[in-house]
Amino acid sequence: MKRRTFLSAVGSGLVSAAGTALPKTAFAAGAGDPVKLGLLFSQSGTMANGESLLKDTALMTIDQINAKGGVLGRKLQGVVVDPASDWPMYAQLAKQLILRDQCAALFGCWTSVSRKSVLPVVESQNSLLFYPLHFEGEEQSKNVVYLNSPPSSSVLPAIDYLMSEQGGGARRFYMIGSDYVWPRTINKMLKGYLKTKGIPDSAWREHYVPFGQSNFQTIVRDIKDFAAQPGGQAIVVMTVVGDSIPAMFKEAINQGVRATDIPILGLDVVDSDLEGLDTTPLVGHLSCWCYFQNVDTPQNRQFKSDWKNYVGAHNLKHRPDMVIDPMVSTYLGINLWAQAVTKAHSTSTDAVRKALAGQSMVDPAGYTVKMDASTQYLWRGDMIGSINAKQGFDILWKSKDIEKPVPFSPFIGKA
């Protein structure tokens, strides 16, 4: 009996330990072995729609690099995990990818809260996280590479446009966001910025909903009520993410809110959020990114056809004709990492970091993007897109050249 207890109690302890120890002993690092890249994108949960696209784009880019011979004579291998839109899981899996799978770098995260969960892990383990989404800034870690724009180069130009006469002369702002760091920080910065433009406190309203909220009935009513108050044209600054985006759009359509009445600037809206919606009543609502797939350059045509072939060849569930900005950012990130590794002749974090500074390449939107020498932010071009009737975006405005990213906004403290 004692023996049985011994076996059952300790055996289960060993099960967990063995599960973690064995793969490590089986993988002794050797030259000819593939270089592993961790892909930290959710395949289930509220972020699955967007992040699964990024995982497949990453795998496609890895295939492209391997077809050209890999890096330093070794092939690349993407290690796919599923954090299931659960923020602590991102941290747990990041630890697993670095410690157990010995990944050279991590590519992942969409929401800022997932990035903030992973941040302590990459900092304590001295690894690199390449982050492909536009975000709220206010962060500059030597273990994170920021591949997309902070608010200074994305949100503020769009707000300026909407406040201009051509954009409708917006004077009142309804900020609706999911309740976490990105919307809160964006709105804080926005309030500071509006104050410098002379917009009074009574001209804006802030409201936050939990992740995955799908009932926007009361909120859209509140928006209509807000817009009916005097003081000028009202716009909605929409920072909800994931499933909440189509839910809010559907409610706005049903309650008769059109872009000609109250324009909505959806800061996280991509083409995949418009799938399945009849976007005719949504025509005119805006979004801002560094890339829209309607941009006409030879690089973009190549990228779109590569993606189409990849989806067809691997029978993926994605739309072959849809490419969004975060996919392009992921593609740029892996390529820039590969360039840095080649220059540094090493995959170690410190060497790659040094070699990344100043790396540049041509992106599908036609800009020559460049990695900043000191902040680890990527200089990108900026575009404002307007929803069209074909579940996509028409390009309303694009910047002439890449813009300098400003990590820490001067407007945050002014609110």
């Binding site: 009996m1 004692k2 049985r4 207890t5 011994f6 059952s8 109690a9 300790v10 289960s12 302890g13 099960v15 967990s16 330990a17 063995a18 599960g19 973690t20 120890a21 064995l22 490590k24 002993t25 599923d82 659960d86 923020w87 602590p88 941290a91 747990q92 630890k95 697993q96 410690l99 157990r100 809260v113 903030k116 969960s117 941040l119 302590p120 892990v121 304590s124 206010e138 999911s178 309740d179 976490y180 760091v181 809160r184 920080t185 804080k188 936050y208 939990p210 992740f211 609110a415």
Partner: protein, 364 residues
């Protein structure tokens, strides 16, 4: 003779878990520092960390077994107390991080605060934090238990109410305005009682502490269960009305067991958070609270060891299988739960014990 032998062996088996766990606690630092990496018995930091987390879950299961196995109260909301311990430890750790780095946590910054709330600053020492956690937990558990047990609510109604309460707490914690980090939760811990959390020795120390706390809790609860208090609890579980008619204040008995269980769960939370490095509202999700009951059910409720065994087996399997076969894990868990719940109401441990009794030819 055989009856005596079975009883003696049964006792020794149940006490035997204690030296086993102590051995495990001693093995952990050896496995990392002494045993070389190429040896199969070596444990990586990741593995030790997992074992520490599993020990916390085992303590949590033990706490639930106390109220469910012995008092018959199926609480599907023990996550609340786990979360109270976790969040209070997190506040203490944030105080420590602020002392180290002089940078406010993100969620305070974007909510516009320029300093910690005054209530938080009280939790700047570990002993104060522990005492405060015990006080808050006893108050919360006591308030709930007092009202509920006096109203004679039990059975499924109580279970549903505890689910609803943990769900409500989770929803509340998601709101950033409540000031506890919202969806982000709290992270960015640097040091615990002077030890840097990034050091391997601290992590191993935490895992060892979890084992030892489990041992201490087990000894204490086992002693309690063998005492007259324990007998009274079992009687309340089996027939509360009769106990009441016999003159026992059943609601006081239940309340005491409930508060003790809550404090144990809170301690489990306090040790869990520094090992995981983050706390967020999913710690009080209804899902986790039901899972605790599943661990106890699979292990065998009412036996204390069963709860520990159940928690270790289920979580060990979970960590192993979600890495290898993530698509299959929910089916395996569902299947195991169904089989155990439907066919063997005594769980794994009960089945083992029954098989052992048969082997020895003893009839009790």
């Amino acid at each position: 003779m055989s009856a005596f032998a079975t009883k003696w062996m049964g006792q020794s088996v149940e006490v035997g878990i204690v030296p086993l766990l102590v051995l495990l606690a001693l093995y952990l630092p050896l496995a990392y520092f002494v045993i070389p990496e190429s040896n199969a018995l070596h444990l990586s930091l990741f593995g030790i960390n997992l074992i520490g987390q599993i020990m916390c879950f085992a303590l949590l299961a033990l706490a639930l077994d106390l109220v469910w196995g012995y008092a018959g109260i199926l609480s599907l909301g023990h996550g609340i107390f786990f979360g109270i311990g976790g969040y209070m430890m997190a506040i203490y750790l944030l105080n420590g991080a602020y002392a180290d780095t002089h940078v406010l946590p993100d969620f305070l910054q974007y909510m516009g605060a320029s300093d910690f709330p005054p209530a938080w600053k009280m939790l700047s020492r570990l002993d104060v934090t522990i005492i405060a956690t015990v006080v808050v937990t006893v108050l919360a558990a006591g308030a709930f238990g007092f009202v509920t047990f006096r109203s004679r609510i039990n059975g499924v109604y109580l279970s549903i109410i505890t689910q609803a309460l943990t769900y409500a707490l989770m929803l509340l914690l998601f709101i950033n305005d409540v000031g506890l980090g919202g969806n982000n939760g709290m992270t960015g811990f640097t040091s615990l009682a002077g030890h840097r959390l990034a050091d391997t020795s601290t992590q191993i120390g935490l895992a060892v502490c979890s084992c030892l706390l489990l041992v201490a809790a087990y000894i204490g609860v086992r002693f309690l269960s063998r005492s007259s208090f324990g007998r009274a609890l079992i009687a309340v579980r089996d027939d509360e009305a009769r106990m009441r008619f016999l003159g026992y204040r059943t609601h006081t008995l239940k309340l005491f067991a409930w508060c003790l269980s809550a404090v144990l769960a809170a301690f489990a939370g306090m040790l869990y958070v520094p090992q995981v490095g983050i706390v967020n509202p999913t710690i009080v999700s209804p899902q986790l609270s039901v899972e605790i009951a599943v661990w106890v059910a699979i292990g065998g409720r009412g036996t204390l060891i069963g709860a520990i065994v159940g928690a270790i087996v289920v979580n060990g399997l979970k960590f192993w299988l979600t890495a290898q076969l993530p698509a299959l894990w929910p089916f395996i868990l569902a299947g195991v739960t169904l089989v155990i719940v439907v066919y063997s109401s005594n769980g794994l441990w009960g089945a083992l014990k029954a098989a052992g009794l048969e082997n020895n030819g003893g009839s009790q």
